[in-house]
Point group: C2
Chain length 235, copies 2
């Protein structure tokens, strides 16, 4: 079964301070079995699991999002894993891509991934809620809060993005985490896990949504010249 990934706006616009929530979670969660992103005013890191949305704020506290809450950027998919593999080794964030490229049908398309297990180490970050005028995300990320845990059981969800779409998403893996007990999560900076079982789904269609009713987005003259470098540094 192939998948339809939905992008609510782009990572590039988020990088350039597009932090106002422009899509309701009522819409986003309807379409999203799993997903990653953030919320209005960058008030934490978003993890979507089983059509429910959770944000981890800058203090590491979890909050379930409400239908009327909004997001400036999210990538979601009604996940139906078509493939799974158990890797017979310990992997970390850097070796995940290397390992998965052996199994993926292609590096030229998006792939959705989900990994549930007990992580020997995991490191997440979250960010501070912002007020206008918004800075670039690269600036915000300099003051990010980082959290580490050991022997933490939970779910990694995320998207593998092909190189060509590195301005729209982030080339390679973009992963968020939520622990089973909801005590720990956020944007994943690193992890170690032994012999993980990884599920993934090949994406044949990406639906790119633009917030055409948001006047700020429509009228802003974005300077995207530094975005690829900023994504590499901040994501």
């Amino acid at each position: 079964m192939t998948g339809r990934l939905i992008h609510y706006n782009t990572l590039a616009t988020l990088m350039k301070g597009g932090f106002d929530g422009t899509f309701s979670f009522e819409e986003v969660l309807k379409n999203g079995g799993i997903g990653i992103g953030t919320v209005d005013r960058l008030d934490g890191e978003l993890v979507i699991l089983n059509h429910r949305g959770y944000r981890f704020d800058v203090n590491g506290q979890i909050h379930e999002v409400r239908p009327q809450d909004t997001t400036p950027y999210a990538a979601v998919i009604d996940f139906n894993a078509e493939n799974q593999v158990t890797l017979n080794e310990k992997i970390d964030k850097d070796t995940l891509e290397e390992n998965m490229s052996k199994y993926f049908s292609s590096k030229n398309v998006f792939q959705a991934v989900k990994l549930h297990g007990t992580f020997q180490k995991i490191k997440c970050r979250s960010v501070q809620k912002q007020e206008k005028p918004y800075p670039d995300l690269a600036e915000v990320a300099k003051d990010q809060a980082e959290f580490t845990a050991e022997d933490m059981t939970g779910t990694l969800v995320g998207i593998y993005t092909p190189e060509l779409f590195g301005m729209i998403s982030a080339t390679g893996f973009h992963l968020h985490f939520i622990s089973d007990d909801h005590s720990f999560g956020g944007h994943v900076l690193g992890f170690e896990i032994e012999q993980p079982m990884i599920k993934w789904q090949t994406v044949d269609t990406v639906e790119q949504k633009f917030p055409i009713d948001n006047e700020t987005f429509m009228k802003t003259d974005f300077d995207y010249s530094s975005v690829l470098a900023d994504i590499e540094e901040a994501e």
Copy 2:
């Protein structure tokens, strides 16, 4: 009424020699009231108008595409113009963008455009059908056939692409032409028209389709490093 633009694969992959037809016109024409693109093996320039597809071959001859024919790249939309404007001056390809940016709701989203009228001058190009191993499109374009006409009545159709999507489509206007009498058309290199009436539609959703059943596409290690420069030169 907002629009849903459908991209069948990307311009970048076409630029890098992805010339095998991977989507049937049965599917493409169902979704496309207007559109641009090419056909299997780059055998001409594609114009879609009123859900019918026409290709202009390298000799300038028109051929209507059949449902079983295929395309490696097309951008189509079920066009329902929400806006129109009559410009009170003579415009050319270079001044079109400058003029339209005054009227467009935004330069940050895709816009579909359609312009029917009598062109004082119009210049189109087409390309030679290719055989494997395929060269880059930039190489093919060096031998393109160019056609010019005066006082030609017909329809320009095309897409305005925001900067962020310059690898997926081509930043700015990408226009194809078909004359009312079907004697002239192709990829538009230049034109002049007095006081044109231009219709356009703002795109809120782009559906990006990938040919996941095409093994060549899935397995090829594309080098996209020169694509932006190639698009600027060839398109």
